[in-house]
Amino acid sequence: METPVIQVRELTKKFGHFTAVDHISFDVHQGEIFGFLGANGAGKTTAMRMICGLLTPTSGKVDVLGLNIATQTDAVKRQIGYMSQKFSLYDGLTVRENVTFYGGIYGMGKDQLKLKIAELAEKLGLEDKIDHQVSSLPLGWKQKLAFLVAIQHDPKVVFLDEPTGGVDPITRRQFWELIYEAAERGITVFVTTHYMDEAEYCDRVCIMVDGSVAALDRPENLRHKMGKETMHEVFYQLARAAQRQE
């Protein structure tokens, strides 16, 4: 079997006496859409930040693309994309300036960038907005643009932290079609969401409860195993069993 794209082993993070993430282990495979779910405070964001090298673990190990995230951080970062929930694009810069800025960070050349900007504008139907400030775009467009910017350097893996929070039902679906397209091109997608219908669009989902992995499987397998009709019911049963407060 081929090496997993992400290999998490006994990953742990303590803040003082509080164990936010408690010895979690799992693999993410090439090209899959991996859903990472959990209640607020379950340790999801802490785990994700350690997996993409933004936070140092207390113990345990993460390999991304066969590289150790702790010692080969820079080499990993060049090959991954990250879209944070709160901040992804500079509101005061135009669409073109944002794309150019991020492209510059990843060392993309001028010609390559020109192509990317044209491609991106066409894909989003943003041709006449390319020199408008990002702050003037509706949230749904911003999120789609942020995603395309996060994958413009053709990373092997992209991490998306609640990319569809607060987005209306139609735009959420358009966003997921962009995710599907990226996955078809072989990009591995690691995504968190609070929408349980979106959990269904993942190849596999991992549900965190109290800092541990409470379930990890294909959505349909989880539904069948637990005798539930929907992922909402699956999640509700697992997350409600949480012991720790905050």
């Binding site: 959990g38 209640a39 607020n40 405070g41 379950a42 929930q85 509706p138 949230l139 749904g140 609640e162 929070g165 607060g166 987005v167 209306d168 039902p169 139609i170 735009t171 679906r173 997921w176 079609e177 599907y180 078809e184 609070h194 929408y195 349980m196 219908d197 979106e198 959990a199 269904e200 669009y201 959505p219 349909e220 539904r223 929907t230 992922m231 909402h232 999640f235 509700y236 997350a239 409600r240 949480a242 407060q245 905050e246």
Partner: protein, 310 residues
């Protein structure tokens, strides 16, 4: 519902207009809306629909450009001072002081309204007991669900007569959302009038009526039951072993009208009545296995998408 409307309305909006940037951006165009006393109204619509502008006008934070808006008998322009004392407004973005503790935030909001936590403890008790274990924690250190409960607590501390909640559960997990709505149900049972915007259609389903906005206009306002009854065409849930390819193949099917991913199945409507076996045959030809086609009841989300797509 009839009963709620026949009482004196809590909110009466007539021909409301709001523009920005020297009239170039039309946020609300000629909106008419009445909200009954004690009603729980859901406000739904895509970005730019005008929901937040409407909230800010009702909360007397911005002025309308035209039309009449009355809240609990007060004019939002002339009587803004009286109105502010009886309105509870929770803005979409977290509206608390991050570097103050839970207790400090609550005391602050109580003081601003010239009251105290103790004076109105009965209205916040149910929420406050959940926050109490963390009362000395800074707001920035709370989880998303707890932040929103604290924000609601601060919105209630002066015992308002109407609540305006702008996307209170965005970014909140399903379990905390459920808890938040259980609190709203209790407030409703005590007679509170509430207007709540939400991107979650399961939440809209729990309200007395749903107002759907798009581009500054009211597309529809009705009870969830009437909205669903009004869908007016057969809706199918379709599954196969290759769901993304299925989405594309269904869209290529000549009589497909709308086709959206809906969790474990795709929801599809057709321009004319279809033979299920024909469709199954077509999908099998495209290489799909385990094709399942079932006619289903639409949900509020189906109705929302249908309205916006048309």
């Amino acid at each position: 519902m009839e009963k709620l409307i026949s009482r004196a309305p809590a909110v009466k909006i007539q021909q409301l207009r709001k523009t920005y940037e020297n009239d170039t951006v039309l946020a609300i165009k000629g909106l008419d809306l009445t909200v009954g006393s004690g009603e729980l109204l859901a406000l739904i619509g895509p970005d730019g629909a005008g929901k937040t502008s409407l909230f800010r006008i009702l909360a007397t934070l911005i002025l309308p450009d035209g039309g009449q808006v009355e809240v609990l008998g007060y004019d939002v322009v002339k009587d803004f001072q009286s109105l502010r004392l009886i309105t509870g407004y929770m803005p979409g973005r977290f509206a608390l002081y991050q570097d103050l503790t839970v207790l400090e935030n609550l005391s602050f909001f109580a003081t601003v309204f010239n009251t105290s936590i103790e004076a109105n403890y009965d209205i916040i008790r149910d929420i406050y007991v959940q926050l109490e274990p963390f009362k000395h924690r800074r707001a920035s250190q709370l989880s998303g669900g707890m932040k929103q409960k604290l924000a609601l607590c601060c919105t209630l501390v002066h015992k308002p007569s109407i609540l305006l909640l702008d996307e209170p559960t965005t970014g909140v997990d399903p379990v905390s959302r459920q808890e938040f709505w259980d609190i709203l149900d209790k407030l409703k049972a005590d007679g509170m009038t509430m207007i709540v915007s939400t991107p979650y259609m399961d939440e809209a389903r729990r309200c007395d009526r749903i107002a759907m906005m798009n581009r500054g206009e009211l597309l529809d306002i009705s009870t969830p039951e009437a909205l669903i009854d009004g869908f007016g065409k057969p809706l199918y849930a379709i599954q196969s072993d290759r769901m993304f390819a299925l989405l594309q193949d269904l869209r290529k099917y000549p009589v497909t009208d709308t086709c959206f991913a809906f969790g474990e199945a795709h929801h599809v409507t057709f321009k004319k009545s279809i033979q299920v076996d024909d469709l199954r045959g077509y999908l099998q030809m495209q290489g799909h296995h385990h094709v399942d086609i079932a006619q289903i009841q639409p949900t509020v989300e189906d109705c929302f998408m249908d309205q916006l797509a048309s």
